[in-house]
């Protein structure tokens, strides 16, 4: 259903669930059963390569965005797990890609958002230029908000030059690499992504003890029950040691994200408890136990978050249940 038709016929009480490509459909919890699904427009709205900014409909897939940017030697390092993911979906879920170590999280790539409120108003937050502090940072507020504050319609992103060379290497210790783009560790040797001028990449690799080049990037663990742990980077090693043996994991060193996957829902629940024991948390991305609320922990500053939710969506129409507080707010 087109967004603009969505709630008129359904009346003001209709529950809305913005939908992208469903690549991260269960992040944060399942959508409400009676929700009307609404989609954002798709396609590039404005792209000026010399400004290194691009404006797209929130329903545009990452694959499309990446193809358009590549034609001008640019990229936007959102790096979703599935390239069919939409820009709106990536932002709403707030899941950063593995190159975050060098290029920053998803929230640092967003310049302006335009969204529709629960009561049908079109609102803009942020601004189209690469630098802007005019007014409150609503774009960052929307990253990770899981469609509970507004329905993203249009997004302006910051782009950057594609690196001249990008190669993955494996080595016992990759700490000496100057600002690598990613460092992944699944218990054995580390995989490191080095980007930059060809000669610099080669020289950095030469200094890595006993390195081998990988033909393709390491694949994160997969399984019916999947999520990502967020802990302080300094606590990654002790956290993975405490994970149950039937949980596959891959840690982003220097970032603190640990991707976990398992065949058993119960093991994912235990991984979540391990995350809590290390002052972190686990966002469920797929599977999990049936009553799982997606976060598994009380939200810090819940009262403040509830007030924000109420301010943006007074009727509680947008994706109720997606955040722990939202479900209670509606119940």
């Amino acid at each position: 259903m087109d967004l603009n038709d969505a709630h008129q016929p359904a009346g003001s009480d209709a529950i809305l669930a913005p939908v992208g490509a469903r690549t991260h459909w269960f992040v944060g919890g399942p959508p409400a059963r009676d929700a009307i699904e609404v989609r954002a427009p798709d396609g590039v709205i404005e792209y000026e390569p010399a400004d290194m900014t691009i404006t797209v409909g929130a329903g545009t897939s990452f694959a499309t965005l990446d193809r358009v940017l590549a034609e001008h030697g640019q990229e936007c390092p959102l790096d979703p797990r599935a390239p069919t993911a939409t820009i709106g979906g990536i932002l709403a879920c707030g899941l950063s890609g593995t190159r975050r170590l060098r290029h920053g999280p998803v929230r640092d790539q967003v310049l302006e958002v335009r969204f529709e409120t629960g009561d049908g108003r079109l609102v803009k937050g942020g601004g189209p230029t690469v630098k802007n502090v005019t007014g409150y940072d609503i774009p960052r507020l929307f990253v990770g908000s899981l469609g509970t504050l507004g329905i993203l319609q249009q997004v302006t992103l910051r782009c950057r030059p594609r690196p001249a060379a990008a190669r993955w290497y494996e080595s016992g210790d990759t700490r000496a690499v100057f600002r690598p783009s990613a460092r992944l560790w699944s218990g054995g040797s580390e995989a490191v992504l080095i980007e930059g001028a060809g000669a610099d990449v080669a020289e950095q690799a030469r200094q890595l003890a006993g390195h081998t080049e990988l033909d393709k990037p390491p694949t994160p663990p997969d399984g019916p029950h999947r999520g990502r742990v967020s802990v302080a980077p300094g606590r990654v090693a002790e956290c993975v040691r405490a994970l149950p043996p039937d949980v596959d994991w891959c840690a982003e060193l220097g970032v603190g994200t640990i991707h976990v996957a398992t065949d058993r829902a119960e093991a994912l629940a235990r991984a979540r408890r391990v995350a809590h024991d290390h002052d972190g948390w686990l966002l469920r991305e797929a599977g999990g136990e049936p009553d799982d609320d997606g976060f598994g922990c009380a939200l810090p500053n819940e009262a403040l978050m509830r007030r924000i939710k109420a301010a943006f969506d007074p009727g509680g129409r947008l994706n109720p249940g997606r955040l722990p507080l939202a479900s209670r707010g509606r119940g």
């Binding site: 640092d108 108003r121 690469v130 502090v133 100057f178 001028a197 976060f295 922990c297 939200l299 403040l304």
Partner: protein, 461 residues
């Protein structure tokens, strides 16, 4: 908090009646807490006496963000100036809000690290103030502004409660309250401890000075560099007047006959740096650069930067007063916007100097004047408004790094619709339902949460 750290003395209150902006307010009381607990106590005392409160660092803000309005308690954070913790391995430092920006970089220099955002006022401005305004600086072109470098903030909210927004873990559950708070200009509470990301020093740095015989050629070079897919660490532009003033002031080795100079820095690993220096030199020459010089050593580099960072001090040699704007335009529109900026100043019979972060399109037109001249302030003000309008017309924004504060508050409806401002007011109300944290800043009157009335056209004047 002891009596020695709070004051009602008229002389002291007068000192805190304004920041580096143009407006003057009035403080009811001023206090100098030394801990988060004391900040919370100060907020509670203010509330008990039904006073708003205003957080203040060094008072270097140019947009009037720390101007005390509605007879508030001014809470000065300069005594909270300790670097609390440095984790070189994780590249994180916990600091108190009163730590000076440059002092933080100095404190971690021996570890081969620095704090990337580097406002021109970095010798004087505080990290807490930087968080308030989401401050920028020349090196934010490649590294991003303050928000990209703040991981967590311990804050005292408007109701006096203490809490942490964000955290050292890469993502916090729920909404990004840290992201909301950074840049909220003291309207969502007061930062009492800040966790910042530290950046490794680059192994290789090249600083270049390119001279041009027209501002247009320099601006075209900026657009050309970005269009060619080169992202320098910094890309700063200075026009003829400011170049000469700086040269007279510090002798940075800038060419006196240039109509414009670009100060360009590239850093990273040697091959990438060499390739970027070559691309930039080529683009500058193809746009008619009269000279392209690469600093031979660290001394020359430091001197070139000293020139740029002394620009505002050098202006005193031209005229006693200046008024500085801070708009951003798309980088492809720099040439035409600069042309309009000069035309507007000329039409108002004013001198304008341009020294700015060209790489990210962040203009800093300086209107210089002598306030003793009758009626000059009206001309300066009118020209400033026209310049901002020209930037907005070119698809730009009102402020890139200084903040809205008081100065640009009433211009907000030029950039945002009533619905946009309403959403921002709702967000502010969620943090501070009673409107006691830095009242009357950022949002114009009428953008009240829940009210949908449109602000009548023209009320901002």
């Amino acid at each position: 908090m002891g009596r020695e750290r709070a004051s009602l003395e008229p002389l002291e209150l007068a000192l805190y009646a304004r920041d580096a902006g143009v407006a003057t307010g009035r403080a009811a009381a001023v206090c100098f807490p030394s801990s988060g607990r004391e900040v919370a106590a100060a907020v509670r005392v203010a509330r008990r006496h039904e006073r708003p409160f205003v957080a203040r660092g060094s008072g270097t803000g140019l947009a009037g963000g720390a101007t005390p309005l509605d007879d508030p308690v001014v809470i000065v954070t300069t005594r909270m100036n300790r670097v609390l913790e440095i984790d070189a391995e994780a590249r994180v430092a916990w600091v108190e809000p009163g730590v000076l920006n440059l002092d933080l970089s100095r404190a971690v220099a021996h570890l081969g690290l620095h704090y990337a955002p580097d406002p021109s006022s970095q010798q004087a401005c505080t990290i807490g103030g930087n968080v308030g305004t989401n401050a920028g600086g020349p090196h934010c072109l490649a590294e991003g502004v303050t928000s990209a470098h703040v991981l967590a903030v311990d804050v005292v909210l408007a109701d006096g409660t203490e809490t942490r927004l964000g955290g050292l873990e890469p993502d916090a559950p729920g909404y990004d309250l840290r992201g909301c708070f950074v840049g909220s200009e003291g309207t969502m509470g007061i930062a009492t401890r800040i966790a910042v990301r530290l950046t490794p020093d680059p192994p290789c740095v090249a600083t270049m000075l390119c001279a041009f015989d027209s501002v247009e050629s320099a601006a075209a070079t900026v657009s050309g560099v970005i269009a060619a897919g080169v992202l320098p660490a910094a890309l700063e532009m200075m026009d003829a007047r400011i170049t000469q003033a700086v040269e007279d002031f510090v002798g940075a080795g800038y060419p006196r006959d240039a109509q414009a100079v670009l100060l360009v820095e590239v850093d990273g690993l040697p091959a990438g740096v060499a390739a970027n220096v070559e691309s930039i030199s080529e683009i500058a020459r193809s746009n008619g650069a009269t000279s392209v010089r690469v600093a031979a050593d660290d001394n020359e580099r430091a001197l070139l930067w000293k020139g740029r960072k002394s620009a505002f001090g050098a202006i005193a040699r031209v005229a006693p007063d200046y008024y500085l704007h801070d708009a951003v335009v798309p980088r492809t529109r720099l040439v035409e916007v600069l042309r309009r900026v000069y035309a507007i100043a000329g039409a108002h019979n004013l001198i304008v100097m341009n020294v700015f972060h060209a790489g990210d399109g962040n203009l800093h037109p300086l209107l210089v004047f002598d306030r003793r001249e009758a009626g000059v302030w009206d001309r300066v003000y009118a020209a400033g408004i026209e310049i901002l309008e020209a930037c907005l017309d070119a698809g730009g924004v009102l402020t890139g790094e200084h903040g809205v504060g008081l100065e640009k508050r009433d211009l907000m409806p030029r950039m945002f619709s009533a619905a946009d401002l309403d959403a921002q007011a709702c967000l502010r109300d969620a943090f501070d339902p009673d409107g006691v944290a830095n009242p009357q800043k950022v949002l114009p009157r009428g953008s009240r949460c829940g009210e949908l009335q449109r602000v009548p056209e023209g009320t901002w004047i």
